[in-house]
Every structure is written in structure tokens, then in C-alpha cells.
Amino acid sequence: MNSNLSDPAFWSRLQFGFTLAYHYLFPQLTMGLGWFIVYWKWRALRTGDEKYNQAARFWAKIFGLNFAVGVVTGIPMEFQFGTNWAGFSKYAGGVIGQTLAMEGMFAFFLESAFVGALIWGEKRLGPRYHFLAAVAVATGSWLSGYFILVTNAFMQHPVGYEIQSNGTLGIQSLSAYLLNPWAWIQFSHNQMAALVTGSFVIAAMGAFYTLRGIHPTQARLYLNAGTLVGLVAALFVAFPTGDQQAKMVGRHQPVTLAAMEGKFEGGTDAGVAVIGQPNVAEKRLENPIEVPDALSFLAYGHFGSYVHGLDEYPEDTWPDNIELLYYSFHLMITLGTLFILLMGLAVFLNWCGRLQTTTPLLWVLMLAFPFPYIANILGWMTAELGRQPWLIYNLFRTRDGYSQVVSNGDTIFTLIGFTGLYFVLGLLFLFLVGREIRLGPDHEIVNSEAGASAPGKERAV
């Protein structure tokens, strides 16, 4: 990021990036957990086994807290299109507004109508409708993800638009816009990554309860589901979705791929640097350790393929923070690989019936849950830093998109405000989730709205 402190675009980018990265800590778990809850509700309906209901209820409580923070931190995202990015809204509102509006109309109404019923309304709705509420909420959260990814895909790879007589963008084909191939690949990659977060969190809870020696039935349920889904999702994140994503970047944003890989010079038989630091000033990669030919193969399918280097493109089309982009991308790949190994090992030991007793692995599973969050955010940093210096790739530059009338001081002020408020929100969230974990899955009072009327009613059964 061009860190010129008197540049308004810098502060608006920092604010958008910070509020978005923070916000996305929550929806990724919402999207990841939603289908686990649906699955347990379904098993409970089919088998009548109360342990599935207990699991669904417990995770619905975590889901509810997570959802609440996701909602309140999400509203600022939409408003910032107008407050901080007025130039962008004016230019592209007719196109990106379609999906922003659809997200509200199709996804949020669905989610928000049923989420309260999912968390508190088990008795009011009855088992069938309660199951449907779980389906509605999970569907809503994934729909919302799709509309946002279509919006982002348009910024990465604009399709279905026309340039109007007044110079702004209008929509030319809604179907081309909604079915942007970039959106499908990015959506698959992103949703699988959200499932990885969900599975790691569930597996961590299972490992925690197992190590503690409490709630054994629930702990086994969480470990089984978390490790199995975690392995499958982690594999899908890498292949085919991640692989396709990288190939697509190579096709449509070759300069971005070069920057992600720290390729300052183009050439055939390009290798992948496993280790190395880009030195942008001198235009080279310091102390690289390369896997020969790997990049040629990964990006274009042949070991000898020519891979473009940054030197082939004018410098004003280079991503403006190559170092950060390079580290984000490489760390994401490293973490993704470790996820596959960890979950592979856990699933294997579980299959042998030895996971419950392999204490070191349980420790690792318990402590590993923050890393998918990190990998998800790194993935988004790769996507968004890689898109620079464009707000809409090859159409509209980031420096043209910010609000002219908002001063730097205003943005810095609100950025500090968001930082403080979000810090408090984070503490509150951790405290309340920690409390739910301590009370455990067999805690009877789902919501102590009840507690108010009956002090002392809280009990652990």
C-alpha cells in the first residue's frame, strides 16, 4: 500500500481494509458453522438421538454470538461505499449496486428472519420448522457470500458492463455479471476456506473437552465431524479451487501473479520460491530457495511454460505493495498445506481409533483454530493487494475512487473510533464465547432472558 500519509486514498483504504478484515473474522465462522448445525439437526430428526440436538443447540449459541458481531460490523461495510468511496459509487454504483442490493434483499432478510428462531425458538417452531430455520440461516449466509463475491469478482475481472455516455458504468448483461467465472471460482475457494475455519473451531472444542475429560460424547462428535470435514475442505481449498484461482489470476492479472511470486524477470521454466524476500527497490528476490519449473507448471500446466515477469509491465500497473502481497500469498499457501497435513493425520488416527488418546495431537488441534482465520484474511489480502493499483481491474484506479469531500482528519478520527469500538467488541465476544464453552453443551438455559425471571434457575444438568 502506498503509505503516503497525506494521501486520502491511503486512509480510506486502511479504514476499509481494517473494518473488512475484522468483520470477516465473524462471517467466515457463520458460513462454516451453518451447515454443521443443519447436519446435526437433520441427524437429530432422523435418529431421535438427543446428543445431536445438544450439539446443534450448543453451536447455535456460539453461532448466535458470532452472528451478532458479524451483523453489527457488517453494516459499516456497506455504508463506506458512500462515505469513503463516493467516487467509486458514482462510477460503478449501477453495476455493483445490483449485488449489494440483492445481498440485502435476498440473503439478509432470510438470515435475519430465522436466526432468532434458530437460537431461541426450538420449542416455538417444533423440530421440523427448527431444522428448516437452520437451513434458511445457512443458505442465507452462503447467498450473502455469493453476492459479495460477485461484487468483488467484478472489481477483479469486470464483465457484463457497458460504459455509458456520461462516462460511468451501467450493467449490460445481468446474467454475465452474476455468472462471472471469476466469481464461481473465488466463491468455491472462499466457501471451502470458511468450512476449514468452521471445522478447525469445532475440532478445537472437541480436543479441549477431551483433554479436560469432560462432555465425552459431545467431544467425540466434534472431533469426528471437525477433522473429517476439515480434511475434505482443506483439500478442496488447495485443489481444485485454489489451483483454479491461481490459474485465473495468471490469465487475467499476469502482473499480479508475477508480484505474488516475486518474479521480477519473466522466463521459461519458472520456479516457485519457497523462501525469499522481495527487494522491490533493486527489483530482485533476496536469497530465494526455488522449486525449479514449479510455477510454469502450476500456472500454465507445462513445466516449460513462459511466466511473465514484472519487468514486462509498466511500473504504474504493478501492485503498489509487492512485499505485503508476496508474504500474504506465501504464508497463506504454507498454512493451507499444514492444514491438510494436520487434518490428514488426525483423520488417520481417528480411523485407527487412537485420536482420543494421542495427547500431543489433541493439543495441536486445540491450539490450531486461529490459523484458518489468519489464512482466510491472508487470502483476502492477496486478492485485494493483488488488484491494486486498480479499484476495477484495468478500468478504474483506486486513487480515483475515494470521497473528495472527506478530509484525512475525518477518516483518521473514525478509523481510531472503529479500532477502539472493535477492540471492546472483541473482548466482549471472547468473554461470552468463553463463558458458553465453560458452561458446556449440556447447559440447560439457552438464553437467560429466562434467568431474569427465575434467579437461581441456571443449572448444569
Binding site: A68, F79, F81, G97, F106, A117, T168, L421
Partner: protein, 350 residues
């Protein structure tokens, strides 16, 4: 087409005010009508599981505004930068207070969140009231259609205005009292016991206070923007709006007088929708009026997306709106009736 979308966007904003307005109102009154922590839980139970569905109308409005009137969204939101950020922070506090206040059965914990809830609802009602006043009065738009303004300048509603002046402060007071009255009417319908009785008394005197405030801001609007009334007089829809307001007022008064709770609340909803709707029709086609020079004003035609964008949006929007209404009806039926303080171990209220 553009007029239709002006109507839809206004409808969404009005739906938001009518729906979330009851929550603001109930929130502002939550210390007045509910004296104990337990009674305040009852107020929150009355707001019920649909508060975030109500809030989605604001999100949907924002998204639709980018889609169909992108230039208005760009000018308006960046011009009101700090005020809008306060709205966002208020919404964050309000949502969190609602969601976590009941989580721990502890006097201090609940007392703290009850206060945050009260404070954020006042803040939001005041900010939305000021926003309404600003829409009627106008903002200092320059020739490029941009503006940026202070919270207040010299407190006159002409020229280089601020967010607050004598006119917008009056509108703020009107809106705050109106929403409080609306919230009280809602609590009468949804609660029983002492909260119900106090809300019924509050509803009576708050509605009584609405009448002089309404007459006052009508007179003030006549002074600040006389042209609004001239244009309204030529619009049949404004006369229809006036009939709706009168009809709603009669329904409301008869509902209050005969203690017919549902009728009173229906009247209250229609009345607010009528007042805001008539205001919106009177404003059309101007969406943002310039206090510096009328020719700088942003009209619906000038800020709209292309015909094609509007056409495409009018295909999917009705589908989504019908679906949203179905979810709402399904859930509200499940949660109909009074919110008591009796709860089981799973119900929001019994």
C-alpha cells in the same frame, strides 16, 4: 421508471422507520415504563427476535440506493460523513446491547447493557430525526453536486447550513417524540402487567405532545421551504397522503380511547408511514435540495442509474420483497401475542 424507483427507495426507508422506529421508541422508554431489570427484559422480549429483520430494511435501502441512485448515495453519504459514522456506532451499540444484555443473569451486567440500550436508542432517534429535517430543508450542495457540512453553523436554515439549526432541531424533537409514542403504542400491544399500564399512560401523553409539534414543524416548513407546499398542492398523491394521515389519526385516537390495542398500533404505523410518505411525494423529483442555489439540487433524473440497470433491478426486486414478506409473516405468527416475563429454558418468552 425513475419515479417508480423513487417510490420504492422511499418505501424502503419508510418501512425501516416504521419497523425499527418501534424499537427506538421502546428503547427510549425502557427506563420510563420498566423500572426493574426484569421489566426491562420484558421490553426487550417485546422487541423480539425480529429486530435484526427490521434493521435489514436500512441495509436493503443502502444497497438499493447504490444500485438505482448511485450519485445520491455518493454525495449524501460522504457529505454526512461524521453524522453517518455516529449512526453506525449507535447501531453497533444498540445491536450488541440487545444481543448480549440477557446473556448473564447479573444485576450489574444487565444494568450496564440496559443503559447502553437506552443511550443508543436516544442517539439513533435524534440522528434519524436530524436526517429527516435535513432532507426537507436541504444541504449546501455546490455546482458539482457535492457538499460537506459541520454539525452546526449559525443555526439558520439558509445558505451554508449545518446538520443542526432551529428547523432541523424542531424536526428532531418531533421525530423523537413521534417514535417514542409509536414505541409506547407497540409496548401496550406486546406487554402485560405494570409495563403495559405505564406504556398506556405514556402513549396517551406522548401522542398528545405529537399534535402541537406536528403543527409547529408544518408551520416551520412553510417558512423554510414554502415551495414544497406549492408543489404538494398540485400533486394528487399528497392529498391522498393527507387523507391517509387523517384516517390513521382517527384510527389511532379511537384505538387509544377504547383501549383497542391492535387498532391503535395499526393507526400509529399508518400515521408515521403517511407523514413520511407525503413528505417524500412533496419532495419529488428533488432528492437532495441545495440551500446555496436551487439549480444545484440533485433530482432523481440526474442521480439515477441507466434505464437498463433500473429495468433489471425492477425484475428481481419484487421477487425478493415478496420472499422477505413471507419470512416476516411466518416468524411474526410464531411470535404473536404478549411478551410475558414467563420463560422456559428455551423460549425467548413463553
Amino acid at each position: 421508471m425513475i419515479a417508480t424507483w423513487f417510490g420504492i427507495v422511499s418505501f424502503m426507508l419508510i418501512a425501516y422507520v416504521v419497523l425499527d422506529g418501534r424499537n427506538f421508541g421502546a428503547g427510549m422508554l425502557s427506563w420510563h415504563v420498566a423500572k426493574t431489570s426484569q421489566e426491562r427484559r420484558q421490553v426487550i422480549a417485546a422487541i423480539g427476535p425480529l429486530w435484526s429483520w427490521h434493521e435489514v430494511w436500512l441495509v436493503g435501502f443502502g444497497g438499493t440506493l447504490v444500485c438505482v441512485f448511485p450519485r445520491l448515495m455518493a454525495s449524501g453519504f460522504s457529505g454526512y460523513y461524521l453524522a453517518l459514522m455516529l449512526v453506525l456506532w449507535g447501531l453497533i451499540l444498540r445491536g450488541i446491547a440487545l444481543e448480549v444484555g440477557g446473556h448473564i443473569n447479573d444485576r450489574l451486567w444487565q444494568g450496564f447493557w440496559d443503559f447502553v440500550f437506552l443511550f443508543s436508542n436516544f442517539l439513533l432517534a435524534i440522528l434519524f430525526g436530524a436526517a429527516a429535517g435535513n432532507l426537507e430543508r436541504g444541504v449546501p450542495l455546490d455546482a458539482q453536486g457535492n457538499f460537506s457540512m459541520a454539525f452546526f453553523t449559525d443555526f439558520t436554515p439558509y445558505g451554508h447550513v449545518g446538520l443542526l439549526d432551529w428547523y432541523t432541531v424542531s424536526v428532531t424533537a418531533f421525530i423523537a417524540v413521534l417514535l417514542a409514542a409509536h414505541g409506547a403504542t407497540y409496548l401496550v400491544l406486546k406487554t402485560e402487567g405494570p409495563v403495559h399500564d405505564r406504556s398506556a399512560r405514556a402513549a396517551n401523553y406522548l401522542w398528545a405532545a405529537v399534535v402541537p409539534l406536528f403543527l409547529a414543524i408544518t408551520a416551520e416548513t412553510w417558512i423554510v421551504r414554502p415551495a414544497l407546499f406549492q408543489s404538494a398542492a398540485h400533486k394528487p398523491l399528497c392529498w391522498l397522503g393527507l387523507l391517509v394521515i387523517i384516517g390513521a389519526a382517527i384510527t389511532l385516537i379511537s384505538g387509544l380511547a377504547r383501549r383497542h390495542e391492535r387498532r391503535a398500533f395499526t393507526g400509529s404505523n399508518v400515521l408515521i408511514a403517511g407523514v413520511l410518505g407525503t413528505g417524500a411525494v412533496a419532495l419529488y423529483p428533488v432528492m437532495l435540495y441545495s440551500t446555496l442555489a436551487p439549480e444545484n439540487s440533485l433530482t432523481a433524473d440526474a442521480v439515477a442509474s441507466s434505464q437498463h440497470s433500473l429495468l433489471l433491478a425492477s425484475i428481481w426486486w419484487p421477487v425478493a420483497a415478496v420472499l422477505a414478506a413471507i419470512y416476516f409473516i411466518f416468524i411474526s405468527r410464531r411470535y404473536s401475542g404478549k411478551a410475558s416475563v414467563r420463560t422456559d429454558n428455551q423460549g425467548f418468552y413463553d
